[in-house]
Structure formats: C-alpha cells, structure tokens
C-alpha cells in the first residue's frame, strides 16, 4: 500500500532521512520508531506531501507522491503531532469544515463519526475547551471524515493518559480490521509491540525492520541477563566499561545486561558479586524491544 524507495531528505546539506526504503501492506499497522530527531516526522511529512524528498520515489496505493494529485490526497488522512484544530470553532464546526474540504459533508455520517469516537456529547463545545484526549479524538474524526485508505499518525498518544491511550489503540485495531493501513510513529515501546510491523529509524537510517518479534531477535548475537537485587551504584560503571558487556539498561527494579556470547553467566556473576549483598541472582532472559532500541541507538551514536 505504501512504498518508499531510497527516499533522502536533506536540510542544509545534512541528511535527516537517508536512503529510506520501506514496504507497507494494506491493513497493516506499521510503527516507525526512533529517538527524537531520528527523522520520523520528516518521513511522515514527506508521505503526506508536505515536504518534497531531495531524492527517491514513494507511492501510496499505486499513486506516485510526485504526482501530488487530489486523488492521492483523498486516499490519505493525517493526524499531526499537534493537530491543528480551530479553537474558536465548536467540535462539530471543526469536523464540518475539514469534511467540506473533501466535499463529504453528509451530516449523518459526521454525527456518526462523533458517536463512534465518543465525542458526540461535546459536539457543541469549543474545540479550545477540550481536554488533550478529546482533542485527539476530534483530530482523528477530522482525519477520518473522508474515509481515507491510509492514516498517518504522528505520535498519536504522546501526552495521553494510559486508559485513553488504550482506547485509541483499540480504535487503531478496528480501523486496521476494516482494511485501513496505519502508519504510526512512536517512542513508546509497548505501543511498538502492538504494531504488525516496525522499523527502527536512527539518524535517518533504518537500523532494524520486521515484526516486533523479529526485531527483538536482532540481538541474537548477544545474551541477555537480568539482575533483580539491590546493587551498589558503582556496578554500573564497572559493567559499562567492560569490553564483554554490550549494554546496560536499568528497567525499573531490573538491571538488564546484554553481553557478548563469549561472556559466561559465571564470569558475569563474579564481576557483579562485590557490588551486591548475598548471592547474585542473575537470570538469563530474552531481549525486549527497549533493549534493542537502546542498543541500536547507541551503536549508531558510537
């Protein structure tokens, strides 16, 4: 449904997106992950026609981006990170306005949208008076009013409480069930887990791609251990400076240690022992997405 081949975008001679190629199938929820300034928003804006790529080609539903045709614009919906709503207009007036740009002004359909996304009761409220969660719902309604085949969502759940975030994801699944293709950027790892397919973007380059499980397996060359007991702070420095230790990731009460294969559990236990009290409780575990995320981000930085 969405194809990017060798897309590069440079600003002031530095490549923000570098030779990006992606293939996203119809009905998929695709997650583009990466740290801040990785090029996620730039990629989405290129796909929405707001930026021209410096080189490369992309198409959506078989229509080349370079055509910049109205047909293409009817196919896509875009929920920007800061979706522009007219604060002084009511919820319904905002929706009606955006719908009129696509000549889809059937009042019944629009009211149906508001009901479906549970914002109907606020239809006469000014958009400026809505809470963050409801603004997001209204943005979604506005982006969906013309029944687009592809929906671009730039950090759709940033700054949203967990229960609303879950509701939004339920909506995304529903939309995907209906055959819509969703292109989501996020840096929440638990959201990445919910995608059918993800790609890690760092400094404008894709550093890992596949299903969440496939991406987790990309750390296969390493062993992952977790330490679940109290330790002295100096341990972190000791581990980080050891050649056999690839990455140390503190995750709540856990200390996740990613080490090279030649590093045995016994050797690692011996290294840790002076910094803990009692027996070392070191467990072998699987890499999670956050481990991969941090590992990949560090690699490119190094």
């Amino acid at each position: 449904m969405i194809t990017l081949s060798n897309i590069t975008k440079s600003f002031n001679r530095s490549n923000v997106v570098n030779n990006l190629s992606l293939e996203i199938a119809k009905g998929e929820i695709f997650g583009l992950l990466g740290p801040n300034a990785a090029g996620k928003t730039t990629t989405i804006r290129i796909l929405c026609g707001l930026l021209k790529p410096s080189s490369g080609e992309a198409s959506i539903g078989g229509i080349a981006l370079s055509d910049n045709s109205d047909a293409l614009k009817h196919k896509i919906g875009y929920v920007a990170q800061y979706f522009g709503l007219y604060d002084e207009l009511s919820v319904m007036e905002n929706l009606r306005f955006y719908a009129s740009l696509y000549e889809r002004t059937d009042e019944k359909t629009l009211l149906g949208l508001l009901k479906r996304y549970k914002i109907f009761e606020y239809k006469d409220a000014k958009a400026g008076s809505l809470s963050g969660g409801y603004k997001r719902r209204l943005s979604l309604c506005c982006a969906l009013c013309h029944q687009p085949e592809v929906l671009f969502l730039d950090e759709p759940t940033a700054g949203i409480d967990p229960s609303t975030r879950k509701e939004l994801w339920d909506i995304f699944y529903e939309l995907s069930q209906e055959g819509k293709t969703l292109f989501v950027t996020t840096h929440y790892m638990e959201e990445a887990q919910r995608c059918n397919k993800i790609a890690f973007l760092n400094k404008g380059v894709v550093v890992a791609e596949g299903s969440p499980t496939e991406v987790e397996n990309s750390l296969e060359a390493y062993d992952v251990y977790k330490l679940t007991q109290e330790f002295k702070y100096e341990l972190l420095e000791v581990l980080r400076t050891d050649d056999l230790v690839h990455l140390v990731n503190q995750f709540g009460d856990e200390l996740r240690i990613i080490v090279k294969k030649e590093c045995s559990k016994e050797w690692l236990g011996g290294l840790i022992a002076p910094y803990t009290q009692g027996d070392v409780s070191l467990e072998s575990t699987r890499a999670n997405l956050e481990d991969v995320f941090i590992a990949l981000t560090q690699e490119v930085v190094a």
């Binding site: 707001l50 614009k73 875009y78 920007a80 800061y82 522009g84 696509y102």
Partner: protein
C-alpha cells in the same frame, strides 16, 4: 531580583533569534527621523501651475520668470481661463495663474492691474502656503524691475504695489480641513483593517498548525490564497461604504452623483490592493507579531507620505518616489478628485490602473511565494 534578570535575559535571547525585529528596531527610528526631518516640509515645491498669459509682455514674462526661479511652481501654458480650472479639476495642476490682456498697459498707466491666482482648495495646507508664498510674484525683486528708468522714457510713477494679486480658491472654497482629511481617512482605515485582518489570516494558521492540515487536504495553495482574499475583500468593501456613509451623514462629505461609478471602481481596486498586500505580509511572516510589525511599518509612511497630510509636492525630490509606491497616494488622488472636484474618470485612469496593478501584483506575489512555502 535574579528571577527578573533571568526572564529579562530570556527576552533578549528571544529577540536575538528574530533578526527582522532587530531590523525594525533600528531601521524604523532612522526612517522616521528622515521622514520628519526632511520630507515633511510644508513648503510646496514644484507645484504644477497652469497659466494663461494674454498680455505676452515684458512685464508678464517677468512675473513668470520670477515665479519659476523661486522654485515653488512649475509653469505650463494652457489656452483659456476655463482650461486652468479643468487642469486643477483633473489634478494635473494644483495652481493656476491668469494674466489679462491689458496688464502691461494698466501697469504703465499706473492703474494697478490684477493678476488672478487659482489654488486647489482640496489641499488646504497647499492653498494656505501658496497664499503666503504668492508674495513671490509681487515682492520687491519683481516690482523693482517694473519701474521705467530708461533714458528715452519718461519716469513713471508707480505705487508701492504696482499690481494686485487676486487669489481664488477653487473647489472646497472654504478650505474645510475635514473635507481634505476625511476622504483620506477612509483610505487609512481601510488600510488598517485590511492589513491587520488579512495580515494575520494565514500566519495564524501557521501558528496554530492548521495550515498543515489544510495542505494535506485536496485544496491547492492558489485556491487557499483566493479563499483568503475573498471574505476579507467583502469585509473591506463593507467597511468602505460604511465609513463613506458616516462621512456623508455626520460630516456632510459631498457625494455627487458623478462619483458613484468612480467610487464603486475605487472601492474594488483599493480594497483588493490592500487585502492582497495584507495577505502578502501574512505569507512572508512567521509569526503574528511579525505580521503586525510589517503592517505598522507600511501604515505609518503611508499616512505621512501619501499626500494625506502634506502635499506630495511639498516633499523633497528624493522622497517623492516613495509616495508613488504607496497605494494610498493614488487612493487620495482619486477620492479627493471624485468627491470634491468631480474629476472625470478619464483624468484619473492612471491612478485606477496603479491600484489595480498593486492588487494584481500582490495577489500573484502571494501565490508564488506561498507555493514555495513548505510547512
């Protein structure tokens, strides 16, 4: 105290990131000083004067030469007294002079002949200063040459004032300042409303992130600009007639039937030019604050240099070109002409064309500039 210092420092850092603002802070006062210091002299110079010299004598030539060399007037010849009035009505001249046939005869007969002087009353400040400066034609330099002291000629005894100057104020005979200012005030008000409304319109969409959503929708940038021009033009037109009506009912501004067609045309080209200019400001600005600054930057010189308060003829030569790149200059010329002098449409066609040109230029410039805009 340290928190105040911290915030104050932050303000300066923000200002530093706005080079245009710094430009305004430095350029504005320089410009204002130059304008007030040099441009705004109330002494007219090079005012066009249509004259008829029926006498065609040494004496009448003496008057013309002295007027010319004084620098206040630029003289050109027309055929009749009626034509002098027509020249002033059309705006080609703001002054006129009629020297009758028997001027030199009466002068030599010591009968104190009359020289007729005409002044355009729609520009009261010009009229006033011209009345004062009309002394230029009968000051000592001129009159001293009018004594015959030649060997062959008899000494002619001439009174202290060898001739009399009659000054006639044409149009707006009472030199009502309101009639002079009010039509121009309409132009300034429309300008303010248009530049503020249209100036903010697009930049507000940028600031609120709604522009991105619009650009994702199937509406082209050209369509968007046109969609912005139309509503504000309607508001501007409403304002134009509203203010005109206020002027008519409250200040007895004349509204001759001959002006109706001209006023309709004027309202369209002028409001169009102002809205297009406002939109252009909006396209080139990044923030609403910037847009406001640019608007003020245009409004103030317009008030000072458009002939609204000070006649363009009274400005030094190097400032005058600025007057002619200001739409308000053409607006003033037209509206004072049609309301007070009942100037014919044809005589003002250049001014209408100039305003239409501004409207077209800024519309096209806005579209072209906006097309290159990437959100």
């Amino acid at each position: 105290m340290s928190v105040i210092g911290a915030v104050a420092k932050k303000e300066f850092m923000q200002l530093k990131s706005e080079p245009r603002l710094i430009g305004f802070l430095i350029f504005m006062p320089i410009m204002m000083l130059v304008l007030f210091g040099y441009a705004l002299r109330l002494e007219p110079k090079d005012v066009n004067m249509a004259y008829v010299d029926e006498d065609k004598s040494y004496f009448s030539s003496l008057i013309k030469t002295n007027l010319w060399s004084d620098g206040y007037f630029k003289l050109y010849k027309v055929d009749s007294k009626k034509q002098i009035i027509e020249e002033i009505r059309s705006g080609r001249a703001h002054a006129g002079m009629f020297i009758q046939k028997d001027f030199s005869k009466e002068l030599t007969d010591n009968e104190q002949p009359h020289v007729q002087f005409f002044v355009d009353g729609t520009m009261p400040s010009l009229a006033t200063s011209m009345k004062n400066n009309s002394s230029a034609i009968d000051d000592k330099d001129v009159t001293s040459d009018m004594y015959f002291l030649g060997e062959d000629a008899d000494n002619v005894v001439i009174a202290d004032a060898p001739f009399v100057v009659d000054t006639e104020v044409l149009f707006n005979e009472d030199e009502l300042e309101t009639w002079f200012f009010l039509p121009a005030v309409i132009g300034v008000l429309i300008m303010q409303i248009a530049l503020v409304l249209a100036g903010i319109s697009l930049v507000r969409e940028k600031e609120n992130n709604t522009l991105e959503q619009l650009l994702v929708a199937p509406i082209s940038k050209t369509q968007l600009i046109i969609a912005k021009i139309l509503p504000y033009t309607l508001i501007g037109l409403f304002e134009f007639y509203f203010i005109l009506a206020l002027g008519y009912f409250i200040f007895d501004l004349p509204l001759p039937a001959s002006a109706y067609f001209s006023l309709i045309l004027l309202s369209i080209v002028y409001v169009g030019a102002m809205i297009a200019l406002g939109l252009f400001i909006s396209v080139i600005s990044q923030t609403q604050q910037q847009a406001m600054f640019i608007a003020i930057f245009i409004i103030i010189p317009s008030v000072l240099l458009s002939g609204m308060i000070f006649p363009v003829e009274a400005m030094p030569e190097f400032i005058r070109p600025i007057a002619y790149i200001l739409p308000l200059t053409y607006f003033n010329e037209i509206i004072r002409g049609v309301l007070i002098k009942e100037t014919l449409f044809m005589d003002l066609s250049i001014d209408y064309l100039a305003l239409a040109g501004f409207a077209l230029f800024f519309s096209v410039a806005s579209i072209l500039k906006f097309k290159r805009y990437v959100a």
